[in-house]
């Protein structure tokens, strides 16, 4: 490969940048298989909240033509016919295994960006054993992660994050790569880009892809050969940056510290239809509590709250109703009680009797970092006389709930939780609950 020419040349002052994207294969399914070796080689799928849609598929399930996100009822026949093993999402397990994967990856490079629950970018620039043979280093990463955690991964390498992503896509798609692919070499890069559709590029969404197609840009190669100026004029700076990244010019740095979320959403489908205002109000209060907890975890406050309620779009015979409302808060807050009070005011406006509600949710936006305690008194009281903030109380509740889950909740969330989403096929919390450890037989 030609890649070595440049790097080995003594004239080059700094080593060529090398980024690896390590991505877990069918992560949720792989997590389920760690403790269930009987499921290796069998069709397995994981369902979304409330067991509604397919969110993870084993290779066997993909082969059956089952697409990501399809509702369970649409594939029930295939499930029976091929005895597909279904699981409810077991987030406690997935989060624990994810942490193990990321900790293992940290051993391979000085910098790691945890990009999502199942992907991490490593900056391998100048990492000595890797400089000598990136493919062998990639294989070592694969071997170590699967041995340590039981999770198979693929490794994509390249001089930019976008190319590392593309390399990973190809490593997953073509087993001949052995799960590791390096796109540092421009010739090799060009060959691959000619056969990959432009929609597979990181950051190119379906809408942008459709617009690119209209302009005759179909493959990644087509996009890479565009002038940055033209793309920036017709699209935006993000797509223009992607073009540069595809040509090996780094525009995106590794973000080692996850940026705070700019939006927090908490919504669920109910296990049964809700008709009463009181029930909806309790569910909404619960979602407000969850969202506020997330907000406090990142030490932020929110300035705007949006709620929505709706009936089921899958039952067109029933009367349909869906509404959303937003409210800008007088003072940014992170207090569960303020959020619930505001959500309730809006819910009173939106609620209409006579409908079977299937889902509701809350979204927090205009999120900013919390201010220092000294500034807090400025806001003082809301209209109804409730203090807008009691940070000490809220933090105390969070601490208690971390030790004793669901021990303390705001009264508005109610006691009857029968609307809670279904998780009938959930596996054991093998790694987070002493009562649910995997059994091993002494045969």
């Amino acid at each position: 490969m030609g890649r070595g020419d440049q790097r080995d040349s003594p004239a080059v002052m700094s080593p060529q940048r090398l980024i690896a994207l390590v991505d877990c294969n069918n992560f949720y399914v792989s997590c389920e298989r760690v403790f269930r070796p009987d499921l290796i080689g069998k069709p397995v799928a994981v369902l979304s909240n409330n067991d509604g849609c397919v969110v993870a598929r084993s290779a066997e399930v993909k082969k059956l033509g089952i697409k990501m996100g399809v509702p369970l009822f649409q594939i029930q026949q295939l499930v029976n016919q091929h005895q597909i093993k279904l699981f409810s999402s077991n987030y406690a397990l997935y989060a624990d295994i994810s942490m193990r994967v990321m900790v293992t990856l940290e051993e391979f490079a000085p910098n790691l960006e945890v990009y999502s629950i199942d992907e991490g970018f490593l900056d391998l620039t100048g990492v000595y054993p890797c400089v000598k043979d990136p493919i062998a280093y990639g294989q070592l990463i694969r071997k170590t992660v699967v041995r340590t955690t039981g999770i198979p991964v693929c490794v994509g390498l390249g001089p930019t994050k976008t190319l590392a992503k593309l390399a990973n896509f190809a490593a997953k798609k073509w087993p001949q790569t052995g799960g590791v692919l390096d796109l540092s070499d421009p010739v090799r890069r060009e060959k691959l880009m000619r056969i990959v559709p432009v929609g597979e590029v990181w950051g190119i969404g379906p809408r942008t892809a459709a617009k690119l197609n209209q302009l005759g840009i179909h493959t990644v190669g087509d996009l890479a050969s565009q002038s940055g100026k033209r793309i920036q004029a017709q699209f935006n700076v993000v797509v223009a940056r992607t073009v540069m990244e595809l040509n090996g010019t780094p525009c995106l740095a590794l973000e080692e510290i996850a940026p705070d979320k700019q939006q927090i959403v908490c919504s669920r489908s109910f296990s049964r239809r809700l008709t009463e205002y009181a029930e909806l109000s309790q569910a909404m209060a619960e979602f407000c509590s969850r969202a506020a907890e997330k907000l406090r975890k990142q030490d932020s406050v929110t300035g705007c709250i949006t709620i929505f309620i709706r009936t089921s779009p899958f039952n067109p015979d029933e009367p349909q109703y869906q509404r959303a409302a937003s409210s800008k808060l007088n003072a940014a807050t992170q207090d569960t009680r303020s959020l619930i009070a505001t959500a309730n005011q809006m819910l009173k406006e939106l609620y209409r009797p006579g409908y079977n509600y299937q889902k509701c949710g809350v979204q927090l936006s205009h999120i900013q970092p919390e201010i220092t305690p000294g500034q807090m008194d400025v806001f003082d009281l809301m209209v109804d006389g409730l203090s807008t903030e009691n940070r000490h109380l809220m933090k105390a509740i969070d601490r208690i709930n971390r030790r004793f889950p669901s021990a303390v909740s705001i009264a508005a969330t109610g006691f009857d939780k029968s609307w809670k989403p279904k998780a009938e096929r959930i596996s054991q919390r093998y790694t987070t609950d002493w009562g649910e450890l995997a059994g091993v037989k002494c045969l």
Partner: protein
Amino acid sequence: MLIMPTTVLYAASNPKTVNLPLFSGKVSAGFPSPADDYVEKTLDLNELLVQKPAATFFVRAQGESMRGAGIHPNDILVVDRSLEPVPGRIVICALNGELVVKRLKRRGGQWLLGSENPAYRDIILLEELEIVIWGVVTNVIHPL
């Protein structure tokens, strides 16, 4: 599962701003404790039982066949997946789709899985060791 909140917080009916101190220092009087210099930390069992947290899993033993190795039914086994499976170690393996505890042995160029019970015969491994071995057992937690 029924989850009952054990504590319910009601919104305050007559709220008042209360300023809590951000820190409180202890005013020392008299002699400092002579033990102060020796306070280091408390003992943490994790330190003793877990070398590599990312690779360490806990599993629960079922059955009698490993009693000879000190593994009783319901004991918790500490398993390190990153350790090299070498002959003589107790290992967790995936046999016929089940997780099983065995002692790894090497005889006549072959890998064997043995029980600590004369009633069981050694199993000859035909597959590659890497595929079968799930992890290496490092400790047994056995309540008395």
